[in-house]
């Protein structure tokens, strides 16, 4: 059940090197996000490189006069004036732009500025206001082909994810604990223990499943407690399955034979059969052979 490829690796393989703007802005790290790229020439220096340039955004209309200006400076100015996040990759920094237009819509203006690039426009709204352009991702020509959005769990900071563990929405909490476990592995034990106390069973299931598949070392006593006390049969199954090869496996399988859920019972039968103690399996097979195990498995003798 492990992920085949780390989402971070996927992001990198897709050529995406920019991180969410607000994260980097707060952490003051070098970034390719526009507005300003930290660690590069100051805005005044850049402005000095194209002194006749101007970007205006008035009455929702965009005007641009740029002559051989750094491309990221131009995008930065549009971002700052039009209050739209523009996110680029590093390859665009060294490019320059020359373009002039007057009094066009923001979307049309950006389309003209980005005519030689791949871009994704994000329009968002809420119940109180109409949808509007809120963010633009910019790639070099051809780099945008074959990429799609990914959930925030893949790129949010760990601190942000930890904050979502207390979200009112169970799905948000479940996504957050899964992402935290994937990042922190065994160091996520405290978060896992808390998630296993969540009132929502889906959060508990996803937390336990992710922990077991990510090598989080859960004490046997914790698994026993889950098998004995948790109301979710899926939690009881996962905890029993996790103990199957432990010294407590046989004892707990015997206990689980009386679990109210037939699937947990079946899992208990499977564990005992694996340990050389075959039992009849209620809920699945009632065949005559199940009750005559000697007929199922024979020592080979010129058959």
């Amino acid at each position: 059940m492990k992920r085949v490829v780390s989402p971070i690796v996927l992001l990198l393989s897709a050529g995406i090197v920019a991180l969410p703007s607000f994260v980097l802005a707060q952490q003051q790290q070098s970034t390719t996000v526009v507005p300003p790229a930290v660690g590069r020439a100051s805005r005044s220096d850049v402005k000095g490189a194209c002194p006749k340039s101007a970007v205006r955004f008035e009455n929702d209309r965009l005007s641009v006069q740029a002559e051989d200006c750094p491309f990221d400076w131009l995008l930065e100015e549009i971002s700052k004036n039009a209050h739209v996040a523009i996110i680029t990759n590093a390859g665009l920094r060294s490019q320059s732009a020359s373009i002039q237009f007057e009094n066009v819509s923001l979307e049309e203006g950006l389309r003209r500025v980005l005519k030689d690039h791949d871009s994704f426009f994000f329009f968002g709204g809420d119940k109180r206001s109409p949808s509007r352009l809120k963010a633009v991702w910019v790639y070099s020509n051809g780099e945008g082909t074959g990429v799609v959005p990914v959930p925030q769990e893949f790129w949010a900071s760990t601190k942000e994810l930890e904050g979502r563990l207390k979200d009112a929405e169970p799905k948000v909490r479940a996504n957050a604990i899964e992402a935290i476990i994937e990042r922190k592995r065994d160091k996520a034990r405290a978060e896992v223990f808390n998630a296993l106390k969540d009132a929502n069973s889906e959060v508990r299931i996803r937390a336990l499943s992710a922990a077991l598949n990510s090598g989080v070392d859960l004490p046997t006593q914790s698994l026993v407690d889950l098998l004995v006390h948790d109301k979710s049969p899926k939690i009881r199954f996962l905890s029993l399955d996790a103990m199957a090869d432990s010294p407590e496996g046989e004892t707990m399988a015997e206990y689980a034979l009386n679990d109210p859920d037939p699937h947990v019972q079946n899992a208990a039968h499977e564990i005992l059969e694996h340990l050389g103690r075959p039992t009849s399996t209620p809920g699945t097979s009632q065949s005559p052979e199940t009750n005559q195990p000697s007929q199922m498995t024979e020592t080979k003798d010129r058959n």
Binding site: M1, V4, L10, L11, S13, A14, I16, P20, S21, F22, A25, Q28, V33, P35, P36, R43, S79, K80, H83, V84, A85, F120, F122, G124, K134, A135, W137, G146, V147, V148, P149, V150, F154, W155, E202, I205, K234, F237, D241, P262, H263, N266, A267, H269, E270, G283, T284, S285, S287, P288, E289, T290, Q295, M296, T297, E298, T299, K300, R302, N303
Partner: protein, 213 residues
């Protein structure tokens, strides 16, 4: 400082938007395959065998929790085997029990194959004709075991079922083995066998689940 403040203001709306980031379309188009179980049996000079007609015996069972992201389950058997007296080894896969034994159970695929004569939900994965030794008079008789002319050791058994499931659901996967009883009738040596078997249970997110082509 001013530039930083401006930057924060500009990007502030994105904080509350849960803006999606981007990943390779190729990476997202197909959900990964999750291997839920990988087990083997009869690698110790033992065999799983039965002379019984359908519904046969419970040859393999494994309970799994389908990941909440997945809607398709894959059940694989990879083994070797033989049969006696020209009987066919019939195999079926079910979720939560053979439907003829457990009302809540269902075949992984309730359909039928070709001319093997196996009942719906069952497949003939091993079969050697018990050849007429009059025609082949002077040749080898009795196969290479004691199970008649059709007793030939061993042959590959390889099959994989797919079945649609509810994401996050729990199932007991079962593979059953039965004899066709076509090798001479009841009372004769109708045993069918497999050994050195691997079993895999996998899952994935697949558009539409396991669908008819």
């Amino acid at each position: 400082m001013k530039a930083t403040s401006t930057r924060k203001w500009i990007v502030a709306p994105t904080v509350s938007l849960c803006l999606a980031f981007w990943m390779s379309l190729a990476a997202q188009a197909q959900g990964p395959i999750h291997r839920l179980s990988a087990q083997f049996k009869n690698f110790d000079v033992t065999e799983t065998t039965t002379p019984s007609a359908v519904p046969g015996i419970n040859a393999y069972t494994k309970t799994v929790l389908v990941p909440s992201t997945d809607n398709t389950l894959y059940v694989t058997i990879s083994a070797v085997g033989d049969t006696h007296k020209g009987n066919a080894g019939w195999f079926s896969c079910n979720l939560d029990g053979d439907p003829t034994l457990v009302p809540t159970g269902s075949y992984c695929n309730p359909g039928s194959g070709g001319a093997a004569g196996a009942p719906a939900g069952w497949l003939s994965l091993e079969k050697h004709f018990n050849y007429d030794f009059v025609t082949y008079n002077g040749g080898v008789t009795g196969g290479d075991g004691s199970g008649g002319n059709g007793d030939m050791h061993d042959n590959s058994i390889q099959y994989q079922w797919c079945v649609s499931v509810v994401p996050g659901s729990m199932h007991t996967v079962q593979i059953r083995l039965a004899s066709s009883l076509t090798g001479g009738g009841a009372g004769l040596n109708n045993n069918v066998f497999f050994e050195a078997a691997h079993f895999y249970v996998d899952s994935s997110s697949t558009k539409g689940g396991c669908t008819k082509f």
